[in-house]
Symmetry: C2
């Protein structure tokens, strides 16, 4: 029996009914009503309560009640009056539990016994109405900022209607842990709030108010936190309380789905570790073992298909076959398959109409497509099926958050011979070994959702955020990579619409693939074998600086110069050589990359050179 899943209304955008309807539609069991959402709403608490009941949502908590305990008179008495007014509201709502967060006022007295007495008085008044009070330590509380301090006060108050509220952010953001929680009786754990966050060296209040994330989107050990709470015997709701400026600006159902996905994923993460007694849910199907990208598919029309085929031809690709029943062409170079889909009335055609030429699908090789599909579905990513012809393959697929299809294929599955009339392999330039990485440009509000999707559904690991200087603003990049490095997906965002990334985002209405990097064991030889390739010109000044930075010899430098190649190093022996194509029809471009000696990055120091060259090319 999984624990009830709840979300605080403050996580979501819009008016209170919009928030409630989204939470219910996505599948949450309950909500925390955030007071500001009620105050600014023009319906009565009773109406809100009725709406929740109609939607099948429990009201797990009403919050926050601030700056209550250990105040001198007359503030103490006024605070108790204030509590009575809020109890009125809660009874009209049908909310049973009130969150009291630790006092932040300078006037609060440094006397835990006063705090305990006040909370005992409040709990007594609550109990007379059938209500309860949960006390939470805010990380920036004036006298009480650790859960252990809050617990000492709750213990001293010793009232059955008073318990503890735990919040992962307030504990983990201070570098604190739940060590000692096992000494707290399980029935005193009234409520659990979960939030993740990026690691920021920011004051904890600003960090909390603006940069919280759903579990799995950030860098805090939220799974371990949940495990500790379950081990301590907690069996109440698991509730998300996320203050995030971007979430509040995003479509409410998208954010609600991300939230529920994060809780389902968390359940799964702790399965492996937690003792059986605390396992809260049936396990998810395991994440797939990944084995690279079988193909990338482009939505084109006939003229764009011809133009893209020609463009790819200059990069060493040849037309390896045509689909038997559809206007679909296979372009191939070594281990890289690119599908050009101009079939009318298909999902690809829809994509083309919206965006012009665009990547519309990727096929991932996974050990067990059916299991991967079942996992995706359990994580709220519905299966997708395009109509297929007689005798043609039916490939399981899901949609990424931007609508891109992700096909799931068994490694070694022969998908080409059945559906395609294949042509003999052309005499090739040195063969590519595969697709090294695929870069997507996203609107900033999409980043956290994409991270959670790839992390939860495919088990990819997020890497640290990088900052890349474009001539017209900053581009931020976060890569998700398979532990075995068979799949690498950098995600680029930019607040500016004038950057290279910002322009791609606009062209794709929020998200789209902007470049694909092909892997080669010898970039210089490859580039030399495709003299017609429209490679991005690299300034001489760049090579002068390479010479100064790395002390490369003349032969190495002139090979780089000749090949329009950029260069980077990492670790003891890692090196990276890469060249970029120009951009195809202002939509996407290609890269060839050679990794030497275990180089594990993406040439970030060269991104500024690329983006400046791209801005020159577009004039």
């Amino acid at each position: 029996m999984p624990l009830p899943k709840s979300i605080a209304t403050v996580c979501l955008s819009g008016a209170l009914p919009d928030k409630l309807e989204a939470a219910a539609a996505i599948g949450f069991d309950g909500v925390e009503i955030f007071e500001n959402d009620l105050l600014t709403y023009d319906g009565s608490p009773a109406e809100v309560g009725r709406l929740c009941r109609d939607l099948g949502l429990s009201i797990a908590l009403y919050q926050p009640f601030r700056d209550f305990e250990a105040m001198p008179e007359p503030l103490r008495r006024r605070n108790l009056d204030r509590a009575e007014r809020k109890f009125d509201t809660m009874q009209q709502l049908g909310a049973e539990l009130l969150l009291v967060c630790s006092n932040t006022q300078p006037a609060t007295l440094p006397e835990p016994e006063r705090a305990a007495a006040d909370l005992r008085e409040m709990a007594g008044r609550a109990a007379r109405r059938g209500l309860r009070v949960g006390y939470e330590a805010l990380a920036w509380g004036r006298q009480v900022s650790l859960w252990r301090q809050a617990w000492e006060i709750v213990r001293a108050a010793d009232h059955p209607a008073l318990g503890l509220v735990l919040d992962s952010f307030h504990t983990l953001a201070r570098g604190d842990s739940l060590a000692g929680l096992e000494a707290v009786p399980a029935e005193k754990l009234f409520f659990l709030q979960l939030a993740d966050a990026p690691k920021l060296a920011l004051d904890v209040l600003s960090w909390s108010r603006h940069f919280r994330l759903f579990p799995g989107q950030g860098e805090l050990p939220v799974a371990e936190f949940l495990r500790d709470v379950l081990r301590a015997g907690y069996r109440g709701p698991v509730s998300l309380e996320i203050f995030n400026d971007e979430f509040r600006a995003a479509p409410v159902r998208r954010i609600a789905r991300d939230g529920l996905r994060s809780l389902i994923w968390l359940d799964d993460v702790i399965q492996a570790e937690a003792p059986p007694a605390t396992v809260p849910a049936a396990p998810l199907p395991a994440a797939p073992m990944l084995d690279g990208i079988e193909f990338v598919e482009f939505a084109v029309d006939e003229p764009a298909r011809a133009a893209l085929g020609e463009f790819l031809g200059t990069l060493g690709f040849h037309c390896a076959g045509r689909h038997r029943s559809k206007a679909v062409e296979l372009q191939r170079q070594g281990g890289v398959n690119l599908v050009l889909n101009s079939e009318p009335d298909s999902a690809a055609a829809e994509r083309f109409e919206m965006f012009g030429p665009a990547v519309c699908a990727m096929a991932l090789r996974v050990d067990d497509p059916a299991r991967a599909l079942a996992r995706a579905q359990a994580l709220l990513s519905p299966a997708w099926q395009e109509p297929v012809g007689e005798g043609e393959q039916r490939i399981p697929a899901i949609r990424a958050p931007d609508g891109t299809l992700i096909y799931l294929l068994r490694p070694g599955a022969e998908i080409w011979a059945d559906d395609f009339a294949l042509r003999p392999e052309a005499p090739a330039v040195p063969p590519l070994t595969g697709i090294d990485h695929v870069v997507q440009a996203l609107a900033p509000t999409h980043l956290d959702g994409f991270v959670l999707f790839y992390r939860s559904v495919f088990g990819l690991q997020p890497e640290p955020l990088l900052e890349l200087p474009d001539p017209f603003g900053i581009v931020r990049s976060r890569t998700l990579a398979a532990p075995n490095r068979s799949l690498r997906l950098p995600l680029n965002v930019s607040e500016s619409r004038q950057t290279t990334t910002g322009r791609f985002v606009s062209a794709y209405a929020g998200a789209g693939v902007h470049h694909i990097a092909f892997a080669t064991p010898d970039a210089a030889a490859l580039v030399a074998a495709m003299p017609a390739a429209p490679l991005l010109d690299i300034p001489e000044n760049y090579y002068d600086d390479l010479e100064a930075r790395f002390g490369l010899d003349d032969a190495a430098l002139s090979a780089l110069r000749r090949g329009h190649l950029l260069y980077d190093q990492d670790g003891q022996s890692g090196a990276f050589l890469h060249a970029y194509s120009r951009t195809f029809q202002d939509r996407f471009f290609f890269e060839v990359v050679e990794r030497r000696g275990g180089y594990d990055q993406y040439g970030a120091p060269n991104a500024a050179v690329r983006m400046a060259a791209q801005s020159r090319h577009r004039g």
Copy 2:
């Protein structure tokens, strides 16, 4: 003789020639060439040098040379080779001074004498080419992070081609000062970089890389810093080095103008304080003494004029006159004059065509309009003059950064009788005493520029940034106010286009007035006297919470309820009562405010209630 004014190319957006041309066009004397801007540019250093000379710009500095000093072999030797390559580049550029910033590498040795020996060796090599080296302490340098440490090393190295570079950010961000600088010989002060910043509790590296501002836009004591450097005898360029993501995304000339304006303003600020010997420039005309807003002018067409007149009628205004020669109407209520301008072929008409009904001008009462105009011009805000008819008043005016006209009027000047056929005063509702504040909605990239404009040209003081929760995202608000409080201009920005502010910004293509607050001594009486006013409905829940929070009595509460009034308190006795109109044609709205007992804010805790109500009204 003012010190030369310089700007680092990293402050500005675009390719290197765009940056140089903007710096020259705005009037800078020189630039710092930021290495990344050169590396990503496809012209040679010699060509860049020629362009600078053609534009009349000196190259004040080439930077940065990183991670040089106190490295073990073979890194030490490689670093010297690297320096020789950069000296080559500088000679081609025609740059004479290289900035070396303190080493951040873990490998750097904690041995100042090694650092001094290395810098001495480097300076010797530079001197043989006629070049010089300036050493700067980065706030996050590994061994050297304070200017005094850098100076000890420069002193020990004792080479005439080696000196110190000071940077206000690196010193002030650490809470350090220039105490002791008088012991450094003036000829050892090679270069001065200035940057301001907001006070953020952020790690100093992120703070520096993303949130620097031009002097006057932030909260660091940059003027005092500059004064100390001048007292120490420095007479080189004053140069801006600002890393700011938004500046990089904004139009290059706008940012360049802001930069030069900040340096002109700084000159002016230090005039008053610095001993005459160090005064670097002729003084600016003094900032005006302000005395409130004489009128606000709206751009309308005939139908919008009629509709707005009717709307204002419900708020107690009456048509007090018509212009003798133009399609301009005066609406008046007590001390508030609103001008409705539907004259074809005017600046107002241009504004109306672009945005629909919009505020196009404000008239400020200032002690000396000619002096205020001269000051504005000296601060790069050109005078503006609309054609006037025979015998009509010619009022001096400038343009705000968004194009809004700001007229400058002497208090008590009779501007109405000459140009307008005035009608007798209508029997009025309780008269308004004036305009309390005017709120502008801005795209986030405009905020810092507006702050500097109002601060420098009018001597307004920026107040701390507030955060206001809209149902669809966060709105940030920063107010500029006259010391005597006769002019208050809150500036609101939002990253989200869905917020109330974001929607106004979109409607106005980046910036525009979204509401005007009228002052009354008795808000309840005023509202009672205008029963037809389309006031914003306030939820009952809000009043229930007021009762809980402030313990207001029933009479007070029901007066607030009846009047659609919001309520706030500050300090011991300050109180604020205010009501909002609905929005006129989705463009702007009005507020009536009553300040009691020295209340000095704007009711920020109620902004969420207003914005939620506005989002309900628009459905």
